[in-house]
């Protein structure tokens, strides 16, 4: 559940389409400390593949994805 992960930064990516969710996460990750977590919501289902792929290739970690109707909520942890 969302209350079990404490986020350092919340991001609303709803309405944005590929590649903008990745672009925004890439920018935002610089604003949290190493070990910090971003909690984001998006509506473009493409994020379900794009964000984990981005996290993997940049050495960060996708902690969790949840779907609430059309809204996708996910948590990314900065690892470096």
């Amino acid at each position: 559940m969302s209350e079990t992960i404490k986020a350092d930064l919340e991001l609303n990516l709803q309405g944005l389409m590929c590649p903008l969710p990745v672009v925004k996460i890439s920018q935002a990750i610089k604003n949290v400390p190493v070990g910090g977590i971003i909690e984001a919501t998006a509506t473009d289902p493409g994020v379900m593949a794009d964000i984990p792929a981005w996290a993997k290739s940049t050495g960060n970690e996708m902690l969790k994805v949840e779907k609430e109707g059309k809204v996708i909520r996910f948590w990314v942890k900065r690892l470096k």
């Binding site: 590929c18 289902p45 493409g46 994020v47 593949a49 792929a53």
Partner: protein, 429 residues
């Protein structure tokens, strides 16, 4: 122990690797600095800054190429303008090649000698990528596409879940519980390659459904940010995923979604990159497929279903670089009642300002929006209520210039427009 090479040495080595006869002749020696390209560039038209005209941008790279390869520079260095590369030059190249050029090719079309300025600047992009000076986000987006392939099992469930949800939407929309969005179907006629996200899957799925097409998706998307980096390793790797899927699924055609650079890469670059392997399929844009469906009567369309005025933006990669000019216009003639050409159009159309990967670089939004002004002016002059573009990058940029310049138009994709216009054979829509 080998001494560490400086950044400049690495850059010169990379430039040397990329040096070709075309770069030397067609892109460098032929330029007589006549300046005719200057006001053909949307950056210059918008800013009136001569430093970001095509000739000025390319000259920064040409001078370094001449320092290495023009024998005249040994006798008359002042004549050739040759210059040794410095680290400061590399930073200027970032501005010239990544920030201030969208690789639209309009300067080439309007050059009396056909000087290929984008080739010069693309070479600079490749050099900058090799020495770690390319925009970070473009590298990340290219690497994410590769990571998707390397971790396919991890992403597969997410992807299939997404497709199942879209399939339920399609069934509701077309009123048929048997309507499918097929994935991984061996022997399908088409492998349709969308972008990430529903907006490039749903309208196409609806059109394919009404055409009774045999088609399939695979696990991969069409976007190829490696090409914006002019990085042959990354861009080939990203494209190869699709080529392998086409072979594995034994399809007859790869159909690329409405994405200019993805089409140009798959249609023009991939056959050169993978020339040693058999090509048992052809590559087309979904624009060509929709045109074929309408011309052959495979789908019926009613222009009255799009009751608003429409103008069309020729994506540089689909139009100027690939020659897809008539297909979109035939589709529009069939699908809308009030089509208004913007001026200039076809091969002389202005870039929207979002090409070359620029829509993905938020740090340069200011110049991107400024360089989009000629396009905004073109759209406004038509008085159209909607602007259609068959490229996702263009649509992002058009959406932003729509807001920035208060155009108050609807930005649409061609597939969306065609799906709106379809008259279903079962009469359910």
């Amino acid at each position: 122990m080998e001494e560490q090479k400086t950044l400049v040495e690495q850059a010169k080595e990379e430039l040397e690797k990329r040096f070709s006869r075309t770069l030397a002749v067609a892109a460098s020696n032929l330029c007589v600095h006549c300046g005719l390209c200057v006001d053909q560039c949307h950056y210059f038209v918008a800013t009136r800054d001569p430093h970001i005209s095509p000739v000025a941008k390319a000259e920064q790279v040409r001078r370094v190429v001449k320092a290495e390869h023009d024998w005249l520079r040994r006798i008359f260095p002042w004549w050739t303008g040759a210059k040794e590369l410095t680290e400061e030059d590399l930073d200027k190249w970032v501005e010239a090649a990544f920030r201030n050029c969208s690789m639209c090719q309009r300067c080439v079309v309007n050059c009396p000698l056909g000087v290929d300025t984008p080739l010069v600047l693309a070479t600079a992009r490749g050099v900058l990528t090799a020495v770690g000076k390319a925009p970070e986000i473009l590298v990340q987006l290219a690497d994410a596409a590769i990571a998707r392939e390397e971790n396919l099992e991890f992403f597969k469930d997410f992807y299939l879940e997404q497709i199942k949800e879209l399939e339920a939407e399609l069934q509701k929309k077309v009123g048929d519980p048997e309507a499918r969005i097929p994935v991984d179907v061996e022997g399908a006629r088409f492998l349709y390659v969308p972008l990430s996200g529903a907006h490039t899957i749903m309208p196409a799925a609806e059109i394919f459904y009404h055409a009774g097409e045999s088609w399939t998706l695979s696990m991969f998307e069409a976007a190829n940010y490696g090409i914006f980096l002019n990085d042959p390793v990354r861009s080939k790797r990203i494209t190869e995923r699709i080529i392998r899927e086409a072979e594995r699924l034994k399809v007859q055609e790869i159909i690329i979604t409405e994405c200019g650079h993805a089409y140009a890469v798959s249609r023009w670059e991939a056959p050169k990159w993978f020339k040693d392997q058999p090509w048992n399929f052809r590559v087309r844009s979904i624009l060509e497929v929709m045109d074929e469906y309408i011309q052959t009567g495979r789908i019926q369309v009613d222009p009255a279903r799009n009751p608003f005025s429409v103008t069309y933006h020729d994506s540089c990669n689909l139009g100027r670089n690939s020659g897809l000019f008539d297909e979109p216009r035939r589709i529009l003639a069939a699908c809308v009642e009030d089509f208004r050409e913007m001026t200039p159009n076809r091969e002389r159309n202005y870039c929207c300002g979002g090409g070359g990967g620029l829509v993905a670089i938020p740090e340069w939004q200011d110049i991107r929006l400024e360089a989009g002004k000629p396009k905004a002016d073109q759209i406004r002059a038509t008085g159209a209520e909607a602007v259609v573009a068959s490229c996702d990058n263009c649509r992002h940029q058009l959406g932003e210039i729509n807001e920035h310049y208060g155009l108050n138009v609807r930005v649409m994709g061609m597939a969306e427009l065609v799906a709106n216009a379809i008259v279903p054979k079962n009469g359910k829509k």
